[in-house]
Symmetry: C2
Subunit: 284 residues, 2 copies
């Protein structure tokens, strides 16, 4: 029976670390500031934004929220970002995705100053992730790495199979695993023999977006199974992994909810702290 | 016995395509311009730069070469780049690597304007490669993809194993393969069971930097073997693949020299053409 990896616990430890460092920064008169922009009233986005605000308060950050109506124009949204880019008290800017369809997400991401792009979605920050010399970590994949570290799970030399190739999870997760010396395989909807490949994984990362996609017959005995999926069915959350059956084969497993999900906000706090340090030329 | 993939032939076809498009641009009064900077007198770099100049002449580009002495300072090098960044007749800027040790390669790369960075080495261009929405292709991996296309070798759904994780070849090659729907595994010096993994490859890309590293027992019958290695031993060039023995098992194989090497310059020409089109707002 697998040990459950507790994302709330690990995220709390990350936030504690950020809070401790923030307290020290405040002694120097510096308060990290995060601005969160939300457009429209998607209920899931609303929950995420509220959680981010709470986390900011908990670690001692200054935070602002901009709630813009569904019919906000690109011009209006970009003008909000422009002001935030120029403000010295704002270290990080985050625009909650997805945006309403009439808005150009990539153009919005590109508008955020690279040194305030704490989601690390802009090309320059994505490039740094691939090169391996980054200021900001991609939040969700970095959360996965932090959990592996917390549970002392070795990554170097292991075979990590990532199912899913999104820009937010799959690809950057592959890069972070690679930088930690894992051998990495990236699978996706066009992969042949998916089951056989997954069965070779020491660490299996599921980022598919289909509830219960990863079944026990796809998992090697003793594998570490990381479930990045968040699938809402009838108001309930399900991961990409058929938890009950996979739990019996894996050595470690992340539940949904309470696994990778809570980690993301912890890493966002860490990136915002890093942004504040960079803006004030404070060494790590 | 494998069919040999002829990089000179495929590169010639790429250059012909670029030359044809350049002729059309010239009718509109536009001549793509490439500036190549070389610092010091590394003989291999000298050969590469000469080949790039020749290729520019062949496709009809305007080109300039800046030969700076070994003891050039960062300040001097950056001031050359600054002028080139501002010139309207220069569409692409390339600084031949490696640079002498006292110069900061990343800072030099970062100094080149993103829209003139035809090597696609800057973080913003690397990020676009990972995101999959690029202006400039990474030259060597793009050369590999072009050869596969030329020889009608299917990539979608195939298992591509890349040995090597450099920023110039391994990682971007993995991304281009992924965008073409291959399942991709990235191996490196810390990989366990390298031989077993390589034997599962439909397409094996060797970018290791060790002569004869890939032996026949690492190759599946009928695999496509792409050799990106350029190893100089006693003045002679060797690839990363033990060609004579692997040739007997593979279905297609690239020789060294005459395989991937010549492709790189073709792709550089293509990127420079693309830069010129972008600078003059000409649609593809």
């Amino acid at each position: 029976m697998a040990e459950r990896m507790d994302g709330k616990l690990v995220s709390a430890s990350v936030k504690q670390r950020v809070a401790d460092e923030t307290a020290k920064l405040k002694e120097k008169g510096i308060t990290p500031g995060l601005a969160v922009i939300i457009v429209g009233d998607d209920p899931a986005s609303r929950v995420y934004v509220n959680n981010k605000k709470k986390a900011c308060a908990a670690v001692g950050f200054y935070s602002e929220e901009y709630t813009l109506p569904e019919n906000t124009t690109m011009e209006q949204l970009l003008s909000v970002i422009e002001v935030l880019n120029s403000r010295e008290d704002i270290d990080g800017i985050l625009c909650q995705l997805p945006l309403p369809e009439h808005l150009d997400e990539q153009a919005v991401i590109d508008a955020i100053a690279v040194d305030k792009d704490v989601d690390a979605f802009s090309p320059a920050n994505v490039g740094k992730i691939m090169i391996g010399n980054y200021d900001f970590l991609p939040c969700t994949p970095a959360g996965v790495m932090e959990m592996l570290k917390y549970y002392s799970i070795p990554v170097a030399g292991k075979h990590c199979v990532v199912i899913g190739r999104s820009n937010i999870v799959g690809k950057p997760a592959a890069m972070l695993m690679l930088h930690e010396n894992a051998t990495v395989t990236i699978c996706h909807s066009k992969t042949q023999n998916l089951k056989d490949i997954c069965k070779t994984a020491d660490i299996l990362v599921a980022a598919v977006g289909k509830a219960g996609f990863v079944t026990a017959d796809m998992v090697k005995d003793g594998a570490v199974v990381i479930d990045v999926g968040i699938n809402r069915i009838d108001g309930k959350l399900y991961g990409d992994v058929a938890f009950d059956e996979v739990e019996k084969k894996a050595s470690f497993i992340t539940p949904v909810p309470g696994g990778v999900g809570p980690m993301t906000i912890g890493m966002l706090m860490q990136n915002t702290l890093k942004a504040a340090k960079l803006h004030h030329n404070i060494e790590e």
